[in-house]
Symmetry: C2
Subunit: 459 residues, 2 copies
């Protein structure tokens, strides 16, 4: 009997590759039998939780618990040809084969490109001095943990004010290192927060002892012999025993580009709504790309952008597997709801910021409010800051930013739902809301923020 | 100069009356000046948080902090003629006047009926014996607190398995009283939970030492001279020093009925979507009713029912005040999202149960899942049980039941949003979701429950 199983090759064993496998496993053993799956990955080990690494540095959990969530045996046990420390060096679309650094050629019926991302390194002298790290892989996490625990570590500089950079800086500060964050923008988290909301994060972290250098770029990194010694900003030297460069992540689309696939202006691989890649103006039905290496369509601006989130790829993996099985299940344009633990804060966002709205010519009406999340007679209540952005013309919600010590994630997911369904400020302010004095507040901060927006629209 | 202010009379100072005042205050001083407002209420004191009383009995907060959230002076300070210990004895629709027990007659341009609810007392011998309480007013809460703190209190019986009854029973049990709950249905919380979800509550509370008598009704309450002694169920005597009857709440619509207004089968006052009351087949544009005394239209079954929640009246108050000001702002049919603290559990629901679906001939496909809310390497994670109900024909979400020690309220509000927008299981299972390892899980329990429903629908 001839083996009629469909040969699937997956390049990459990060979240994108792993979730693709899991989405197939979820379909059951009968479906899994229809496939002959090979996954190749450069790294050692099985699946890992890379977004947990900066939080492991802060001591929320042990590094070794996040570096291997599922060992290779988990996947091998499902019958996957799971090849670690193996690099794909080329894709031949004519012959439907993938070349490996081992010299092997893998034939595929369907190919899944899940090559992830790589850190953007600013063009700065000294960026390769010893003691200068990036935070993108498990190995990076382990190296940074060793460096921050060294008795010589006294001064740390983080270059970049995104989520990962700030989380690593908080880890250094918690560990007792004098920590400076150098940010090119005026506020931390400027890609996801308006500056008034970014100020809340800035003030909180400054109060906790982090130093900030805002609106300036690093000029050079100085080494003292073999080791990093200082970072130069605005002509001044900031002493540094550890430097982490966290200046954003670029799609790792080199292999796709080499194979002649379309790469967008964002640097991400271009796909259709079934995650098929594009070549010479046509989408290829047997080749998929997903995860941090692709660009997505923004649901508000309808323009391409990056959405390098585990939650983005989780949905993409379902779409890829559904298409592999012959179903029709298109990917929706992305709203990228996200939440991040920043010190005691949970910072949650969905949709676009005011800066993005301005770039695309969208006039915004915003509703803001900061107040406690629970009844005044409840001792354990926290404060929550809410900023909601509405399109001035349609009155629809197009973005939301929440900061609090609690309740942020699920509220962001609820607001995602409201944006997805085109809900307006008036509709939202009329929503029923669950209430229990131990859990929530009936005159809720989000409803107040909505009401504050409503009065700015004409009746 | 003639005073052209519009005379508004509000009957009732519970949540419905209070929220109506607050919705007017929120419009600003200029709007407030257009009205000459009198509020009459039977009770002493200002606004209170009645739903916090059973939780105050459990020690979450002090009784005196919830019994007067805002004193009368708060409202008097806004220029309201706020009359406590004053009962409205009649409404004359011909003359647009309200008669008071003081002998006064109040003339109105607009009338707001906010007469609230009253406890349903089962027709049982002994229901008026000393030591038998209901839990509906602040005074009830104070009396029950005094009784449970008495050194003679050893045995307690709660009659009724709704939220309030269970919360009072938990308070007794926490206080060390041997506590028995007698429920006519097979499971606690049967009006909001399917029996499989109700079992989780039952098992949890039984483990904590509460006794349950299920599927049986109380036959009589026995007094020993002046004081309650026992409750008789199934021919057996359950010793009792305190008995609380919590057999549901009825709309307090007597005054409206006496005035000839339409009362629905539920016992609630009939209104249109602007909360105008109905008389002789016509809605009266100058007379409103809202809160626990009215019936609402259910958003799934499109049939009248009661929705005696603070969150329901909060939305209704906005609609009433908007209509008073000449705006057009209809009330949506109700989905009644709610959450309740039951011991360590948060029990949250929205939409209809399987029993209600069956009563209305709706075929249900349900998706269920119970699993932790956070990553496996996170020490503080809790379990969450989810049951989602979908209409088999349209595949739309029509109900949700969540039980966990955390995260329930905001998820219920998000699911409310999904039901309101007619989202299907397939659409929901493709939603992006925020993720942070300290806060949430990317393979989330709700998404699993949705996926479990999706596979039951035809592709």
């Amino acid at each position: 009997m001839i083996n009629m199983a469909k040969k699937v090759v997956i390049i990459g064993g990060g979240d994108a590759g792993t979730y693709t496998l899991e989405a197939i496993f979820k379909k059951g053993a009968e479906v899994l039998k229809q496939f002959d799956i090979t996954l190749v990955k450069k790294e050692k080990g099985g699946s890992a939780s890379i977004c947990a690494v900066p939080l492991a540095l802060q001591g929320f959990f042990r590094m070794k618990d996040v570096t291997e969530v599922d060992p290779p045996e988990t996947f091998i046990g499902h019958g996957i040809d799971y090849r670690t420390e193996t690099e794909a060096t080329g894709i031949n679309l004519e012959t439907s084969t993938v070349s490996l650094d081992t010299g092997d050629e893998l034939k595929y019926d369907s190919l899944v490109i899940a090559t992830g991302r790589k850190p953007r390194i600013p063009d700065v002298e000294g960026a390769t001095v010893k003691g200068v790290y990036t935070m993108s892989t498990m190995e990076d996490g382990e190296k940074i943990e060793a460096a921050m625990n060294s008795p010589e570590a006294k001064n740390a500089v983080v270059i970049g004010g995104g989520t990962i950079g700030i989380q690593v800086a908080v880890a250094f500060s918690k560990k007792g290192l004098k920590t400076t964050v150098v940010i090119g923008h005026q506020k931390p988290l400027s890609s996801i927060l308006d500056s008034d909301m970014g100020s809340l994060v800035h003030e909180k972290l400054a109060k906790e002892g982090l130093e900030f250098v805002l609106g300036q770029n690093v000029e050079s990194i100085l080494g003292d012999g073999a080791e990093v010694k200082a970072v130069v900003v605005g002509g001044k030297e900031i002493p540094a025993d550890i430097v982490v460069i966290s200046s954003g992540m670029l799609p790792n689309s080199d292999l796709a580009e080499k194979a002649g696939l379309d790469i967008g202006e964002t640097g991400g691989i271009v796909t259709d709504q079934f995650l098929h890649v594009k070549k010479d103006g046509k989408y290829l039905s047997q080749v998929y790309a997903l995860g941090d290496c692709v660009e997505v369509l923004d649901a508000i601006t309808l323009s391409p952008r990056l959405s390098q989130l585990a939650s983005t790829v989780l949905v993409q993996a379902k779409v890829v597997v559904n298409d592999l099985l012959g179903g029709s299940y298109p990917l929706e344009p992305a709203l990228s709801p996200s939440v991040a633990t920043i010190s005691d804060f949970q910072v949650g966002v969905v949709g676009i910021t005011s800066a993005t709205a301005e770039r695309y010519g969208i006039t915004v009406i915003s509703g803001k409010k900061e107040k406690p999340t629970k009844a005044r007679f409840y001792a354990g209540r926290k404060s929550m800051a809410v900023k909601l952005l509405f399109d001035a013309y349609s009155e629809r919600l197009i973005g939301a930013q929440l900061i609090s010590e609690e309740m942020v994630a699920d509220r962001i997911d609820g607001l995602y739902n409201a944006i997805r369904n085109g809900m307006t400020a008036k509709e939202l302010s009329r929503m029923e809301k669950s209430f229990d004095p131990c859990i929530s507040l009936h005159r809720d901060v989000m409803v107040d923020a909505m009401d504050n927006a409503v009065v700015q629209f004409k009746a």
